[in-house]
């Protein structure tokens, strides 16, 4: 039996708990006299550990600001939560988001413009990684994003398997197809060692569109998805999977595919893997064979997109919290933190002083794989400043890439459909 008193007590308790969630964006949150900055971050494991250590160091190093880091799953989880949080008035002060969504969030007016913040315009970012170089026309826009964990796609090779097959890391698509053939081993039991693997996804496709000489959005704003080049990239994958049978599309979607391909690579069941520089340290630390990093091969030219995320401050937060968040962001951009972050994870060092210091210390001489990632910045193609970019990525292109590669549907037909879809207003 449930007594009336218990019912009332439970109701009162739930009301009390509920009210703690209301209206908290009105005033800056303070704890022990320090301003609390809520920071939503994505990613886990090594990256998470390093980030939390840096946050703890920042919190210990001063007594005005307390950064509270909240884990939100992977990038897209975190982004979904961020956008719904904004809409519901429950957004944090600070977060980090993938580049592709920055133009959209900026247009929606939810990002804090940072030009007026102390020292913002003077931060010495590596051009390709800051907003200015990461976007076509990124400098014409108000400054709304600060590079945080930036990366490019890169090729990881199992040096032992490449040596056995007398193969050098491929420099062109043709070499890639040829070498993958030499590296693929079919065993009787059905377990195959694959020559090459890459998650079937937007980021790698964008790299190949550039390599095949195309661009996603023309200078006049038309979304062409690379035209011929976009279809060529899809056909190249289809050929490797279905005709040459030297590549396995990894199972799962999004980061599940990334995880699974990385595991296969570490287990020695893939000779060459395209993944993010972000996992350089993780892969080196966990591989039981020598790992050689190589730039992505070229087709008609060399091209890679940048990836990873930018710090953004949310406009809806109280001013004091935003100022406090800015302190943290600036601190993270100091050479020392930038170096700690990049050398321990594999993300790119985002400021020039950090790079210079790393060169002085002989870091790149000792870590040629890191050098490869850094050198590849020369072939970065910036993202278009297109508000629809994320929708094009998630809703228009990505499912069709899977469709094309897994089921072998005609590339031209699919990309036509995609362009049609991209032109439709959301």
């Amino acid at each position: 039996m449930i007594a009336r008193r218990d019912v009332l007590r439970a109701c009162a308790a739930s009301l009390a708990l509920a009210s703690t969630g209301c209206g908290r964006r009105a005033r800056p949150e303070r704890r022990d006299g320090r301003i609390v900055v809520t920071f939503w971050y994505a990613y886990g494991d090594l990256v998470r550990r390093v980030l939390l250590e840096l946050v703890a160091r920042f919190n210990a190093g001063q007594s005005r600001v307390l950064v509270e880091a909240v884990h939100q799953g992977d990038y897209f989880e975190c982004l979904a939560k961020l956008r719904t949080g904004i809409a519901a008035g429950a957004a944090p002060t600070l977060s980090h988001v993938v580049c592709e969504v920055v133009p959209y969030l900026a247009r929606a007016g939810v990002l804090e413009e940072l030009d007026g913040y102390e020292g913002a315009r003077a931060l010495p970012f590596v051009t390709a990684l800051g907003q200015r170089g990461a976007f076509d026309g990124g400098d014409d826009q108000p400054l709304v994003s600060i590079p945080f964990n930036r990366s490019t796609p890169i090729a990881f090779c199992n040096a032992r398997q490449l040596d056995e097959a007398h193969v050098e890391p491929p420099r062109t698509w043709d070499e890639l197809a040829h070498d993958a053939g030499l590296l693929t081993r079919r065993a009787a039991g059905g377990e195959t060692r694959w020559g090459y693997e890459v998650p079937i996804g937007w980021w790698y496709w964008v790299a190949m569109v550039g390599q095949a000489g195309g661009r996603l959005v023309e200078p006049d704003g038309r979304v062409t998805l690379g035209g011929e080049a976009g279809e060529k990239a899809v056909r190249f994958w289809q050929r490797l999977v279905h005709v040459d049978r030297v590549m396995r599309p990894p199972p799962g979607r999004d980061y599940q595919a990334w995880q699974s391909s990385m595991e296969s690579f570490l287990e020695g069941r893939i000779a060459m893997l395209w993944s993010s520089t972000a996992f350089l340290r993780y892969i080196e630390d966990n591989a039981r064979f020598p790992v050689v990093a190589a730039p992505l091969p070229r087709d008609v030219r060399a091209s890679v997109p940048t990836g990873g995320t930018m710090f953004v401050l949310l406009r809806g937060a109280p001013d004091e919290e935003k100022q406090a968040a800015w302190e943290f962001v600036r601190w993270m951009c100091d050479a020392e933190q930038t170096i700690a972050w990049s050398t321990r994870t594999g993300y790119m060092p985002v400021t020039r002083p950090a790079v210079e210091r790393l060169v002085e210390r002989g870091w790149y001489a000792r870590h040629p794989n890191d050098r490869v990632a850094y050198d590849q910045l020369a072939s970065v193609d910036p993202w278009p400043w297109t508000t629809d970019l994320l929708r094009i990525e998630r809703d228009v292109v990505e499912p069709r890439l899977e469709d094309a590669v897994l089921t072998g549907r005609d590339a031209h037909e699919l990309m036509d459909e995609a362009r049609d879809d991209a032109a439709r207003p959301a």
Binding site: I2, L17, A18, G44, G85, A90, Y282
Partner: protein, 272 residues
């Protein structure tokens, strides 16, 4: 109607296969949770861990505030189950015992809601809560479930079989309607109410969908969300840790099931 020996043995064998099909996956979950990462990478299918390593559990408790998530989850599930019963009793009483205009209509509304799942309403409810600034609060987790169409329906059915004389006698004694509902009838419905409470508790303790769409950060994050986050790490999945999280998540419910199996089973089959 005696079974032959051979047939009984066949039945036993099949029953063993069924038990294996449902128990081995749990066993696999527990075994994995006591392994280490190198073991999983090197011999993923090894039936037993090299030794009982509790590192995965330590990692779970280090990355998740397990106690807080568990507290939020249990509080939410208890609040929902309690509210459902508290509200279903008077509503069921009115529908079962009282004569009034519009009763058929009211009962029709309850029945209609029985057929609308949360999955069909979450988009508009999210929009409403977003407007009311209630996303990410306990209210958003509890309030939409505080009234249960199913609970109201079941309480009404159960009360229908309680003789009117009991209510009439109580009224003669001067008991208020409140007393009649909560002090006299509720104890008589104890088996129904206990079953209702347990089913509701288990359902909401386990629920992943609603907390996922109604929370944005970890202010009121529930344990199923936290455990699901263990997988969403970006780098290689560390299955021993995910399985350890799974064990932590499932143990309370399985323990409750072991203790209250009869009630749960009756509640599920009583709906038929």
């Amino acid at each position: 109607m005696k079974e032959s020996r051979a047939r009984y043995h066949a039945v036993l064998a099949l029953a063993c296969i069924a038990a294996a099909a449902w128990l081995l996956p749990y066993a696999w979950m527990v075994v994995t949770s006591f392994k280490t990462l190198p073991e999983i990478v090197a011999h993923p299918a090894a039936p037993l861990p090299e030794h009982l390593d509790t590192g995965a559990y330590r990692e779970v408790f280090a990355t998740l505030p397990v106690a807080r998530y568990m507290g939020v989850t249990i509080f939410m599930a208890v609040a929902i189950a309690t509210a459902q019963i508290a509200l279903a009793l008077p509503a069921g009483y009115a529908l079962a015992k009282l004569r009034f205009a519009g009763k058929r209509f009211a009962f029709g509304v309850v029945l209609a809601c029985l057929l609308v799942p949360a999955q069909a309403t979450f988009v508009p409810i999210f929009l409403l809560f977003a407007k009311a600034r209630l996303v990410d609060t306990m209210t958003a987790l509890v309030l939409p479930f505080a009234a249960s169409a199913l609970g109201t329906f079941l309480v009404r059915q159960a009360l229908a079989s309680v003789p009117d004389e009991i209510v009439e006698a109580a009224r003669m004694d001067g008991a208020s309607e409140w007393t009649i509902i909560y002090r006299i009838l509720a104890p008589m419905l104890k088996p129904t109410l206990v079953s209702l409470f347990l089913v509701s508790f288990v359902f909401h303790y386990n629920d992943y969908f609603w907390p996922l769409v109604m929370t944005t950060d970890d202010a009121v994050r529930t344990l199923p969300l936290g455990v699901a986050l263990l997988r969403e790490q970006g780098t290689g999945v560390r299955w021993h840790i995910v399985m350890a999280g799974n064990v932590v998540l499932s143990l309370p419910v399985l323990a409750l099931f072991a203790l209250a199996q009869k009630h749960l089973v009756r509640a599920v089959s009583a709906r038929s």
